[in-house]
């Protein structure tokens, strides 16, 4: 386990190291550029990617793996390429319904991520500041998921569970103006303790709200 964690730490350090030694177009060389605080809001469809466990006592069951995903993210975009920030939101994972003793019953499961996010534009791999690759970015996140569930059977029970987990995403960002951008992001959410995974595709609006 220690070996895996060490390997992961090294891999996380690899992109910034690469950025440090990028060609002359890299803004880390010479005069420092501006720092920005960027607020992102996104929404889109999602698909639950793991088996759901419908209780065997339930009959005429029907599972729904499709849902919606909403995200709010605050990111620090420095003058180099290694961005970091915080993310939260709401993703509906899945729901199922059926009958128990002749009565309709249902379960809904959703998650609120609370993640520390790292993001890196792919320009460190190929291309220049204004190229397609500069607009592509990979994002990873780690933190906690608040898994919320609701049982509706002989009354309603709302419960929640905290699960450690991570996120991996890739995005393309199209500039609209100096402070506004539009992005599309493919995301994979993975709360590990509760053995869930969810894929989503989001349209995002990025707003550079503050620079210094």
């Amino acid at each position: 386990m220690k070996t895996i964690l060490s390997l992961l730490s090294l891999l996380l350090l690899l992109p910034p190291c690469r950025a440090q030694f990028s060609p002359a177009t890299d803004t880390t060389g010479g005069k420092r550029g501006a720092y920005h605080l960027v607020l992102t809001a996104g929404a889109g469809p999602s698909r639950y990617g793991t088996a759901i466990g419908i209780p065997p006592a339930w009959q005429r069951t029907e599972g729904n793996y499709a849902g919606t995903s909403f995200t709010i993210r605050a990111m620090w975009h420095p003058d180099h390429r290694f961005r970091t920030g915080l993310e939260t939101g709401l993703t509906s994972f899945y729901s199922y319904k059926g009958t128990v003793d002749g009565e309709v019953a249902s379960v809904k499961v959703s998650a609120i991520p609370i993640l520390l996010i790292y993001q890196m534009p792919l320009a460190w791999y190929k291309g220049s500041e204004r190229s397609f690759w500069r607009r592509m970015a990979v994002t990873v996140g780690t933190g906690a998921y608040l898994i919320r569930s609701q049982l509706s059977n002989k009354g309603i029970v709302n419960s929640q569970e905290i699960s450690a987990g991570w996120l991996a995403a890739t995005s393309y960002t199209q500039p609209l103006s100096n402070s506004l951008r539009l992005a599309v992001e493919a995301r994979w959410l993975n709360p590990t303790a509760t053995q869930e995974s969810d894929f989503s595709l989001q349209a995002q609006v990025l707003w550079r709200i503050f620079s210094w």
């Binding site: 088996a51 209780p55 339930w58 019953a105 049982l151 059977n153 002989k154």
Partner: protein, 422 residues
């Protein structure tokens, strides 16, 4: 291009390293028939077989000495008998059933170790030794011959070909002592084929060498006492269904409808559990661990009802309520009538005396506490320790010989040290 390939490779390898978790699996290689009847194993023969045996063969994986103890499960008029052989190595044990399809005293089943993943099938025949010769045994008189069990086992290959012989040495240690199996008989994590804190594990507890069980009791939202260990409903204990929360968030009906334990069982009520113990098993001690918050009346009523039921049936069974916390002590204090409510206190000796608990049960990590143990026993109380799973300390505590019982997830190891003590 080469660089892109390298990065993709690193990513794939990382995903593989993180994603490939080891699968811990020690399957039980033998489906118990649970067939009632004794075949040729009459009561006198079964009694004659209880004892400590010397081991020859087996390649050392079962140690030099083992102990054999019979247990049974009643179902109405049917009784299923099973022989448990406790090996003392890695909390190992054999579970053997009467093979009624042969015309000799033959036992078939499996062996397991709880500490690692050792398992395999085994078949043994009861014989008598006379001047080195092995002869058929019809028992129970031996006329100077020595009792032995001879047979074969495998190490998971499915072909029981390795020879083993057990030769009778002496009777089991007769000193009163309780071998208390944690969570009703064993943990779900130990892959025993049934979930912890279920009716199924209670029926098997004696097969692991237990003389008693500890069960964990919580209240549902509608105040039904049920068996469940953890604070939360989680995937360690229940099958995935998307739901979470605590037992007390759900009514009993909701739990029955929507939750299954890891091996598919329903969460049982305390009433069902005590009924199973009294009517179906030969266990003689029940430790109800009060993990609930709230009044103790319902648990007390069940304790009294089933203690009385056991007495009426001539069973030597004691049901006690364990007090693990200040909350549980307060709930006990709040009972309007404490008559016929034996309790076990896990807290300090002063509190044990104040509550007049019949048993003091300190955590084993507090050490031997020799003087306190002596003082408690001088006052007529018994002393148990919990939850002792470290085999080295288990051996030390057993050698010390001053305790009245040990609670463990490794009941076979506790039972081995108890029964083989001279």
């Amino acid at each position: 291009m080469t660089r892109a390939f390298c990065y993709a490779l690193v990513g794939l390898l990382t995903s593989w390293a993180v994603g490939c978790r080891p699968v811990y699996e020690a399957p039980i290689p033998y489906d118990s028939s649970n067939k009632p009847g004794t075949g040729l194993f009459r009561p006198a023969i079964r009694r004659s077989l209880d004892g400590v045996y010397a081991v020859s063969g087996g390649g050392g994986q079962f140690g030099r000495e083992v102990s054999l103890k019979w247990s049974y499960v009643h179902d109405g008029t049917d009784t299923v008998h099973a022989a448990t052989i406790l090996t003392g190595v890695d909390a190992g044990f054999f579970n053997l059933e009467i093979n009624q399809s042969v015309d000799s005293l033959r036992l078939s089943g499996f062996w397991r170790t709880l500490v690692n993943q050792g398992t395999g099938q085994a078949a043994l025949t009861v014989v008598r030794k006379r001047r080195g010769q092995l002869l058929p045994y019809q028992g129970p008189t031996l006329a100077g011959d020595t009792l032995a069990l001879r047979g074969t086992f495998d190490t998971g290959t499915g072909s029981a070909t390795q020879p083993i012989t057990l030769t009778y040495l002496r009777p089991l240690n007769p000193k009163p002592f309780e071998v208390i199996a944690h969570r009703g008989g064993g943990r779900t994590a130990d892959l025993l084929g049934v979930s912890e804190n279920t009716l199924a594990i209670l029926r098997r507890a004696a097969r692991f060498g237990a003389t008693g069980v500890e069960i964990d009791v919580r209240y549902t939202k509608d105040s039904i006492p049920v068996l469940y260990h953890d604070n939360r409903l989680n995937q360690r204990l229940v099958q995935k269904n998307g739901l979470s929360g605590g037992i007390s968030d759900y009514t009993f009906e909701q739990l029955q409808n929507s939750f299954r334990l890891q091996y598919g069982e329903q969460i049982p009520t305390l009433e069902q559990a005590l009924l199973t113990i009294v009517d179906n098993t030969d266990l003689r001690f029940v430790w109800i661990d009060a993990k609930f918050s709230g009044p103790m009346n319902r648990v007390q009523a069940l304790q009294q009802r089933f203690n009385e039921r056991a007495r009426q049936r001539g069973r030597q069974l004691q049901i006690v309520i364990g007090l693990p916390s200040a909350d549980a002590v307060d709930a006990y204090r709040a009972l309007p009538n404490k008559a016929n409510t034996p309790v076990l206190c896990e807290l300090n000796p002063a509190l044990v005396r104040e509550l007049d608990a019949s048993i003091w049960a300190p955590r084993w990590t507090l050490g031997p506490q020799t003087e306190e143990v002596k003082a408690m026993q001088a006052e007529g109380r018994r002393v148990f320790v919990w939850t002792l799973d470290d085999l080295r300390f288990l051996e030390k505590f057993s050698e010390q010989g001053n305790l009245n019982g040990i609670l463990s997830n490794y009941a076979p190891a506790v039972a081995y040290y108890y029964y083989t003590t001279h």
